[in-house]
Amino acid sequence: MSPSAAARQIAPPARGLPSHAGIYHYDQVDRDFLKERVEQFRRQVARRLSGELTEDEFKPLRLMNGLYLQLHAYMLRIAVPYGVLTSRQVRQLAHIARIYDKGFGHFTTRQNLQLNWIKLVDVPAILDLLAEVDLHAIQTSGNCIRNVTSDQFAGAASDEVVDPRHYAEVLRQWSTLHPEFSFLPRKFKIAITGSSADRAAICIHDVGLIAKRGANGQVGFEVYVGGGLGRTPFIAKKLRDFLPEDELIAYLEAVLRVYNAYGRRDNIYKARIKILVHELGIEKFREEVEAEFARMPRAQYRLDPAIVDGIKARFASQPYETLEPISGVLARARLEDHAFNRWVRTNVAAHRQPGYAIATITLKPAGGIPGDASADQLDAIAALAERYSFGEIRVTHEQNLVLAHVRQDDLPALWKALSTIGFGEANSGLITDIIACPGLDYCALANARSIPLAQRISERFADLDRQHDIGELKIKISGCINACGHHHVGHIGILGVDKKGVEAYQLTLGGSASEEGAIGDIMGPALSADEALDAIGAVVGVYLEQRQDGERFLDTLARIGHTPFKDKVYAAH
């Protein structure tokens, strides 16, 4: 089979691994495995095209390689393990987007990248290019343990207790093509953080882990189970307060075995572990897990500290300079430039290394498509990462990117460079930092469009002074009840529904994906797109009228309740 005509002789990006980017460096075993896997899929595609495989036979095989058939084309979902990429990988993604897609990619709430205009015949060649830079599309679909997600500030945050990347990598190696867990009742998502602030939304995952330290400084995990969104949303429940490091794999095996044994395979709507946990109750579920755990040959599953050390050693460390904790350059620039100061306020977070900072690049320009970046923008970000952040880029579940190790002195130059590519918006965590799934513009499962509504909200609230005045307010939009846009945990959530063949939007209030985890309450009947836009204006209006000193939107909502908001929104109905 020959690749499509689009794949011509465009030179691939320059090689050379950024040696200080904090990713796990593959060894030959990893690389050989990826190669074999690409060859296997190449043969499967050839057999599909020749008719040896029917669509019914081929579909599960392509899904195991992250390939979906959407409304207009195939969509390839590329795994970004725990959201960390090197500049070389980002350039390769840009290269693939340019040659094989329409020149852009879409970052998702699972820290992955989706390409929306892929041709089946090109996929083996694309997987070859991904494998060249240690990337793939495995575990991005199917009823397996999916790509593990984590805190985008991992290894950099000033509030971090344990670096979760090392354990995310342990989990990646353990779960990749795990034979016992490749055909679970349903998909299984794990998120891990190592900070007190939860930036990885662990409360809405099948298993959420908080890495922490015990009394003697030893690493252990707080284990949560049964969180999830979709048709029946649940906040995860605590299963264990402190699981010792060496028992991590054994215990998770026990959780998965209980799920595999009792999870509902007869009803897709009841198949996720959240339903099992809910129906058994957390006490009974815990009993089952502990019983299974007690039966296991523990030594066989022990996570040897030497293995953890070996994995840690394959993560490059960053050769930080010794700097003053507070940069004079930064302080002066903040005083002199109001716009820059505003960006620092929302998009810059404290780094654990003196003189450094973490910069969030919001992929949410006014009126833009949340999470989309063009190939040129990706190349530019790769170059900025090389210049300012050891060649490392993080993807966030809020569909943004992060440069995790920027010298405070470099922040003014970084912000200027980001502004020239359209990504200098000072809106991280604000009302226009919207999560939106692809919705009915691309997704075969959608009921309504997500992106155009996100764009209209973004335009309506584009004024940055107003956004900063409103403060933290997270809007999350899903095009159907599958909730890829996390609407249930939006401070304002928006769900696209089909109201007798017409797109409509149901609003929820009061959700949160942070450590205060909460599912939002439905405000009332679904609205048209125009009405939904006005409703958001009305909700913001009530908040601004009612808020007291220092109150965020969620605080005011908690104090005055939902009624004043509902009354205002539905007053005209």
Binding site: L69, L71, H72, A73, K102, F104, A373, G422, A448, R449
Partner: protein, 101 residues
């Protein structure tokens, strides 16, 4: 699959090789333009068109053909459901990010 309704219908699928949206033409082949689609107003011909489409799927040309309700307008058939007109016209948004460099 669309519910059985009285509306005129066209038959559509995605092309196997590239996933492109295609519409069954009066000649029994596939076009990427909905304007080229053959419009069926009776049930029996819809079934016949679907049989042609399924045979095409069996030849590895397309995937999962089905019939779609349309309104017949001067410019040609226009799918009634939002999902189908978006398939016919492409995403309702610009493909490239707003501030792409």
């Amino acid at each position: 699959m669309a519910r059985v309704t009285d509306a005129p219908k066209v038959v559509t699928a995605n092309r196997l090789q590239d996933g492109a949206v295609v519409w069954l033409t009066p000649a029994g082949d596939w076009s990427i333009r909905v304007q080229d689609a053959q419009v069926q107003t009776e049930n029996a011909p819809v079934e016949a068109a679907l049989a042609i489409a399924r045979a095409s799927a069996a030849r590895q040309e397309v995937v999962d053909p089905y019939a779609v309700d349309v309104a017949v307008e001067a410019a040609g058939p226009r799918p009634l459901k939002t999902r189908e007109w978006i398939r016919a016209a492409g995403p309702s948004i610009d493909a490239l990010p707003a501030s792409a460099a």
